[in-house]
């Protein structure tokens, strides 16, 4: 099978192609284009192939992508292994070019290069470069996710383009690179990293939702409970909590009695501080290291919740608003929340069966902003209803699961890592994009694969897929995964 290359011809050439994946791909791009047509058709009875309109332009991109895709299917799969680093470097250079005066700024992000009439967004292609380079790097025999130096190198490899894209002021596209964590999980990266990330995100969200004092008490209880579970000392833990509570109240009223004002928050902190020697002595005597771990976790959490405010202040206003809107704290309908509100109205008003093709009032009449790019899912939701959105969600779910399956049946690490990376990138895009339109995620401007209008992203997503398809065709493990 390794000998199969470009010279192979005849019936066998494409016999190993995963036609299910191809079918899913075509279903997605077809439905995607239909929705771009609906979102961008100005109502005039133009031909659908009119390139002056965006749907016509998108058709050209689709055609071009398919052409390149076929060519890539004909290339020897080994070239991807060989060219991984050069592609990475080339893409990175393109990204860096945007930071020079050659870059073109649009919507506040300096993310484009203008080539004649078309705008290229190198960040989209960077994903292919990173996916290939990471696959190449991790396919080395000496590589291990348990080796810190390897993980750090990997981090640098992913971090450099991410930083460059951040410098473009395109936070959304940079965030996508976190999707490689998906693949890294499969490759055995320490589970604790994911737990910590989850914990930090939860803390961040919670710190907006609940009062600092409640947060503090909650953290005390959670840490104490975890500790009690591990050390099986529920009784002592409860005694400890009771003592801390009493002390807190005592401290609070002591200060009131003296005439000084102290908040409940600081009363609890003081009580906890007073309990520290007792706690340390107790743990030391019984040799319970777990106690210290949870103590550390607690201190970190409280610190983080406090730091959150500082971090949040450092964010740009529009990012702050997007987060606040998502958390339901600030809803300024006519301003920052407008996009999400209109987007939800569009999707929600679609109902079960939708308003019908080209009948979406929210999208057709421009109530939804960016409706053919980042908010294309609104058109799906409004015109095709729950039926349409379920179709899209199901197609994406199957598509991503298919990519993972393609990765699993790879003989080589290179192919598996690559397929998982692609699955992760798609998952990230779909989750953030759809999540944003239905108010599950903050407004982060990244495209919905195959649906959002835009040549660079369409081509990049297609290339990501075709490379995976090519690797799958070539290196399929003929074990339990035979078609």
């Amino acid at each position: 099978m390794i000998t199969r290359n470009i010279n192979n011809s005849g019936r066998g050439a494409m016999s190993n192609v995963d036609w299910v994946a191809v079918l899913l791909y075509f279903a997605l791009i077809a439905f995607g284009w239909v929705n771009i047509y609906a979102a961008t058709n100005s109502g005039s009875a133009d031909s659908p192939f009119d390139i002056t309109d965006r749907y016509g332009m998108q058709l050209i991109w689709i055609g071009g992508s398919l052409l390149i895709g076929v060519v890539m299917m004909l290339l020897d799969y080994k070239y991807y292994h060989i060219l991984a680093y050069p592609i990475y470097i080339a893409a990175l250079l393109l990204v860096l070019v945007t930071l020079t005066p050659l870059g073109h700024e649009s919507n506040g992000a300096r993310a484009w290069i203008k080539l004649g009439p078309i705008l290229i967004q190198p960040a989209e292609f960077m994903k292919i470069g990173v996916a290939l380079a990471v696959a190449r790097f991790m396919s080395a025999y000496t590589f291990s996710t348990k080796k810190l130096s390897d993980v750090v190198k990997l981090g640098v490899m992913i971090g450099i383009p991410m930083l460059a894209i951040l410098l473009q002021n395109d936070t959304g596209s940079a965030l996508v690179y976190c999707s490689f964590l998906f693949m890294l999980f499969r490759e055995g990266l320490n589970v604790w990293i994911y737990i910590v990330i989850g914990f930090v995100v939860a803390l961040f969200v919670l710190s907006f939702w609940i009062e600092p004092t409640v947060m503090l008490v909650l953290l005390v209880v959670v840490c104490a409970a975890l500790q009690a579970l591990q050390n099986d000392n529920l009784k002592q833990t409860l005694q400890y909590l009771a003592a801390v509570t009493l002390t807190s109240v005592a401290v609070y009223y002591l200060f009131v009695a003296v005439g000084a004002a102290v908040s409940m928050f600081w009363s609890v902190i003081i009580a906890l501080g007073l309990s520290l020697p007792v706690l340390v002595t107790y743990a030391y005597r019984r040799q319970m290291t777990g106690v210290f771990m949870y103590l550390l976790l607690f201190v970190f959490s409280v610190g983080f919740a406090q730091v959150t405010d500082v971090v949040f202040d450092k964010m740009q206003p529009h990012q702050q608003h997007r987060i606040l809107d998502l958390l339901g704290i600030e809803s300024d309908v006519s301003n920052w929340g407008y996009n999400v509100v209109q987007s939800k109205i569009a999707i929600g008003s679609g109902g079960f069966a939708g308003k019908g093709f080209m009948n979406g009032t929210q999208t057709k009449f421009n109530f939804v902003p960016e409706q053919e790019t980042d908010f294309i899912f609104c058109t799906v939701g409004e015109e095709w209803g729950f039926v349409g959105t379920m179709l899209v969600v199901s197609l994406f779910a199957m598509f991503i699961l298919r990519l993972m399956r393609m990765g699993e049946r790879q003989q080589e690490t290179f192919g598996r890592v690559y397929c998982y990376s692609v699955a992760g990138v798609f998952l990230m895009h779909v989750l953030i994009n759809i999540g944003m339109t239905i108010g599950l995620m903050p407004v982060i401007g990244i495209p919905l694969p195959f649906f959002s209008y835009g040549g660079s992203s369409f081509l990049a997503f297609s290339l990501l897929f075709f490379v995976a398809l090519r690797l799958d065709e070539a290196n399929r493990e003929l074990s339990s995964f035979s078609v």
């Binding site: 109502g43 998906f182 999980f185 499969r186 055995g188 509100v341 209109q342 939800k344 109205i345 569009a346 999707i347 929600g348 008003s349 679609g350 109902g351 079960f352 009032t361 929210q362 057709k364 009449f365 421009n366 109530f367 939701g381 409004e382 209803g385 729950f386 959105t389 379920m390 969600v393 199901s394 994406f396 779910a397 991503i400 699961l401 993972m404 699993e408 699955a423 998952l427 989750l431 759809i434 999540g435 239905i438 108010g439 599950l440 339990s480």
Partner: protein, 608 residues
Amino acid sequence: MNNKYRILRFAVLVVFGIIALRLFYIQIVDGSYKRSSANNSLRYEVQYPPRGVVYDRNGEYLIQSKEIYDLMIIPGDVEPFDTMLMCRIVNVSKERLKRELRKARNYSWRRPSVLLSQISKEAKLRLDELNYPGFYVVLRTARSYPRNIAGNLLGYVGEVGERDIERDDYYRSGDYIGKSGIELAYEKELRGEKGVKINLVDVHGIVKGQYEDGRFDTLPTAGLALTSTLDARLQEFGEELMAGKVGSIVAIEPSTGEILIMASSPSYNPDQLVGRERGNNYMELLRDSRRPLFNRAVMSKYPPGSTFKLVNGLIGLQEGVLTTEQHYPCSMGYKVGKGVACHAHPSPIKLEQAVQMSCNAYFCYVFRNILDNRRKYPEIGDALEQWNEYVRSFGFGRKLDSDFTGELNGNVPTRAYYDKVYNKHWNSLTVISLSIGQGELGCTPLQMANLAATIANRGYYYIPHVVKHIEGRDSIDRRFYERHTTLIDRKHFSTIVEGMYKAVHEPGGTAVALGRLQGLELCGKTGTAQNPQGKDHSTFLGFAPKDDPKIAISVYVENGGFGGTIAVPIASLIVEKYLTDTITRPHLVDYVKNMKIAYPYYDNKKHK
């Protein structure tokens, strides 16, 4: 199978599951998004019905409806636009535009309001072309008046006030409503039914099409056409004659109560209260010291003067204190008490002649006999109350309940009033002025015309009204078909009528000089009413022809002097014009038109 693969597959399914659940919630469970979507994209555009037209009794237009355009605004949809260009197109100052914009914003950010009303068709076409977001033009109808007459009677329409909107949910801000006259009285008939057009609009408020192809749209129903009782040509002629004078002419068809003329002078061109300059013109009319907006025919309370002698004569006959052959002497007046002066005429005279020559003394005797009839009434107060009853049966002292707005009650003094004023110490001499229609008596010209019609009918009247037919209805209000009979027997009228005939036709008659015209058979009574404003008011009431009268008329010219000098020729000309449709005495028309009357009372008054 790899364990991590299974975990990740599960994670992917969970992620998509959450998305699917969320979609299920917002698309299936929560219905509020559908309403929000409708709020966003559906704009209910009111289709204004054309207001009902008004014809005169001969089918001529009194009020027509012409198409005009209102510029509407939805402040929330407005985007920066070329204000100077807009000002030029709609021909308003930048300050005015800014003011109106602010007003619209204060009213509502989302709901449409009228930015500028009654813009020209050219402006409408330009604005349609420019298609500024947040602006649109709606078709309205405005009133137009082919003859520019009867402004006060027809009334005018204006924008609804807050109270109208609260009272009747038909109205929305910016709607028009009848403010006075027929427009107000017949508002419900004239306004029609509004329609609605549901448009789809985009985020800029620009119309993109009809909702559901117009399935839920409704068409406006035009207001009902009214046929007025007025005779437009007669009205116009009356207003011509009254030009420059202050007063009014009211003419009624006695057999029906239909008002043929109701001219209040000074009047105004009703077109002045239509269109963009309405506000300014209105203020100007309001400031005019002669008060052109004041419909004197029904809102002015005048002393009836000698015309009221007819009523006292009839009451005397009915009460039995007077016979047709009763003679009383008069030498330049009634010399009892303070006395009442009179003019030179033969003496003694009987009732018929007293009416003909308008003898003051004669009616002093009559009136005192009515009040001092102690055989019938133990106290003078009782007699006055009875007299009051009689007077009221002619329609005096109360609203006639006509079909237009602003009618005054007038005033007929009561026993209680005099008891209060004179502390119960009064007698027939105290109130002697009532005998000649002076004193506390107050009548509107409409009431005086109604008296003329009542005498023409020999004892009854129909409530005077200005609308005789409403489109699509068999009849007008039933109260206009009811005959109101006075407390005077029919037989008593002949002597009075004879006196009125002679007043116009026989030598010594007060209206002979300028009132008589062969074949017209005008019967009437002049009046010269003293008043605190200055020179006597000149008045005349009468009817013609003598038998089977076709027109009853009351002319009242403030400060016009002797009744015969101005009120009589006006009435005579109107009657001639109505009955024969010709004017055979152009010199008399010139005489009336050239008569200059000074109104120091109005013109020297400082207003505001």
